[in-house]
């Protein structure tokens, strides 16, 4: 990377960070490009050099947030764990991240705002459905997921159920109980998709996950 590219990247970061902060404080629709420029301590020219409009800025935040989550999930999938364990664990880690990381959280909020008005949601959710289907197939070959289930349908169902849990948690508790809700969703999903011989172990795995999280939030 040349010095100029590095400098340009720093400017881009400043704009995105300022936008995330401002969207968070006053809401996407109330934040003007002028405010963002002021918060970032830059000129309008610098902003327009990177983003042609507020929508382009929002799209960049959605992409970056989604990218961070997907990479985290994929990195967990590459661990020495069986696929279904990685799915359970990866979803909980990603949900926790979407709740704590400002940029990721704003990306998720903006994705909902834009859902019906652009193809951003089609692309973003599409990537997740494909990723989940890959893991479902692996879980089937490892004997954890029942063989007679259609992999893509199971993946769609799992992603829908988890997104729904997150949506309801955000609506009813501002996201405070999202991990409990996602854990409960897994408790209900597992008997539906897991093979008979793996189910007792997987329940225990899930139980340990939520116990550990409770332990951590209680100690901090």
């Amino acid at each position: 990377m040349t010095v100029r590219q590095a400098r340009s990247e720093v400017t881009r970061r400043k704009i995105i960070d300022a936008a995330v902060g401002l969207f968070n404080d006053v809401g996407y629709s109330n934040a003007g490009l002028g405010d963002i420029v002021e918060h970032a301590g830059l000129t309008k020219g610098a902003l327009y050099h990177h983003f042609s409009s507020k929508e382009a800025l929002a799209a960049a935040i959605i992409d970056e947030g989604s990218d961070i989550l997907l990479k985290t999930f994929q990195s967990i999938s590459r661990s020495p764990a069986p696929a279904l364990e990685s799915m359970i664990h990866g979803v909980l880690v990603v949900v926790e991240m979407a709740n704590t990381d400002k940029l990721v959280r704003m990306g998720a909020v903006l994705l909902r705002i834009f859902a019906k008005f652009s193809d951003l949601s089609t692309t973003n959710y599409g990537v997740w459905l494909a990723e989940m289907a890959t893991q479902v197939r692996r879980a089937q070959s490892e004997g954890d997921l029942r063989a007679e289930i259609d992999a893509q349908k199971a993946a769609d169902f799992i992603v829908s159920a988890l997104l729904g849990a997150e949506l309801i948690s955000n609506a009813l508790s501002g996201g405070a109980d999202v991990l409990e809700r996602v854990t409960e969703t897994w408790e209900l999903l597992l008997p539906a998709v897991a093979s008979e011989q793996s189910l007792p172990y997987l329940r225990e795995y899930l139980g340990r996950e939520s116990m550990r999280r409770h332990g951590r939030s209680a100690s901090t």
Partner: protein, 270 residues
């Protein structure tokens, strides 16, 4: 290196660029292209030549380390012939000595590279944020699969034992490893997977000994047997320090990791 070629072109246009040891030193003596070429013909030629040698030398280092790893992974240190290493990458002995003055220097580069590989892979497992004991089990399978499938990892571990003793490299590496594992074991004690009262340092040392031991008593060229031997070792060790109440779950956890690792080893090019 197109950048350097551009600098040379720029030299012809604006500057005289004297070269020493292949490094560019911009000299503020202005001259036109023709003057540059005529006044400093050697400079210009040397610039191009230096550029090419540098490029060749730079690109030879990594392949040399890889070729060396292939040799060190399958032969004892003393039996590795450097002619086989240079032949595999089409570099002259002189080209090799430019980077590695001795067989030992080359071996140390392999150890370093393997160390980097291991740390990167381990970072992925650590970022997964599993429980402490689960992380320790996962790390052992991660290392086993690397050891079985990647010459760099395997050569690094062999060399650590054979030549690492000389410069204290082995002692340093093992101490770092034990310290890192000990911190994870401490977490496992807090989480209740390792029985209270067990010393995390002892657990960490035992696990490192177990792996190094299995490497000697089992056979890395028989992947299936090797992984089953690692599983047996875990199943025998766990009752020594794990919480009895969690034993059923942990034994299954180990069994499931073995199954995944066995699956990986039966895939081609893994």
């Amino acid at each position: 290196m197109p950048g350097l070629q551009q600098s040379v072109a720029k030299c012809l246009a604006e500057w005289v660029v004297p070269f020493s040891n292949g490094r560019i030193l911009l000299s503020p003596v202005c001259c036109g292209p023709e003057a540059c070429r005529h006044s400093f013909p050697d400079c210009w030629i040397e610039a191009v030549v230096t550029d090419q040698t540098d490029r060749r030398a730079d690109s030879a280092r990594a392949p040399l380390v890889r070729a060396a790893a292939q040799q060190f992974a399958h032969k004892p240190y003393s039996l590795v012939n450097l002619d086989d290493v240079v032949a595999a990458v089409d570099v002259t002995r002189g080209g090799m000595y430019f980077h590695f003055p001795s067989k030992q220097a080359l071996a140390i580069a392999v150890i370093d590279e393997a160390d980097k590989l291991g740390r990167e892979a381990a970072a992925g497992v650590l970022a997964s944020k599993l429980s402490g004991l689960e992380t320790l089990i996962d790390l052992s399978y991660l290392v086993a699969v690397l050891d079985l499938s990647d010459d760099m990892a395997r050569a690094g571990l062999y060399l650590l034992e054979s030549i690492g003793r000389a410069d204290g490299i082995e002692e340093r590496s093992l101490r770092e490893l034990v310290n890192a594992l000990s911190q994870i074991a401490r977490r496992a004690v807090d989480e209740g997977d390792i029985a209270a009262g067990r010393d995390p340092d002892d657990v960490a040392r035992l696990l490192v000994s177990m792996y190094i031991g299995v490497r000697h008593t089992s056979d890395l060229d028989a992947p299936r047997q090797f992984l089953l031997d690692i599983e047996k070792a875990w199943k025998l060790l766990l009752p020594g320090f794990a919480n009895p109440e969690r034993m059923g779950y942990l034994q299954q956890f180990v069994h499931r990791r073995t199954a995944v690792a066995l699956g990986k080893m039966t895939l081609p090019n893994c």
